[in-house]
Subunit: 91 residues, 2 copies
Amino acid sequence: MKINNEVIGLVAGILTASSMLPQLIKTLKKKEADDISPFMVIILIVGTGLWSYYGVLRDDLPIIITNAFSCLLNSIMLILKFRYSRNKLSI
Amino acid sequence: MKINNEVIGLVAGILTASSMLPQLIKTLKKKEADDISPFMVIILIVGTGLWSYYGVLRDDLPIIITNAFSCLLNSIMLILKFRYSRNKLSI
């Protein structure tokens, strides 16, 4: 039962950590990002950054790795958001 | 030190759980969602759903509440995505 719990947690972690990947691919292909909220992306950068720091404090490598990866994806997304938004004032 | 850790974890959890909120507000205001990847939203629904289930298995109320809230926001976002996408085939 314990192994099952850990597998569910691991799958859940991989899914939420990599969720920004299809968005990055779509934005790179379309070169359009007007409809994406920069606040969502900024909140995710700060949130996953804090989770990584929490992982460091708790000495928990899975938390550090998944959230640092997610933080990196979101940082790239923020750059793409401002690069590809036709209306620069669109927030 | 322990309290500081918990506060950081709590703030991180609140931020990542509520990150879809500004996106929902933006989509409702603009009524456009072409640039948003439905795969990102679907992966987040499955991922946060699994996190909630993991919270139930571990009897961890904060994990259940934050992820169930996030799963709800993402489910609403998926409905808006298909409602407001001008190009219905745009994935």
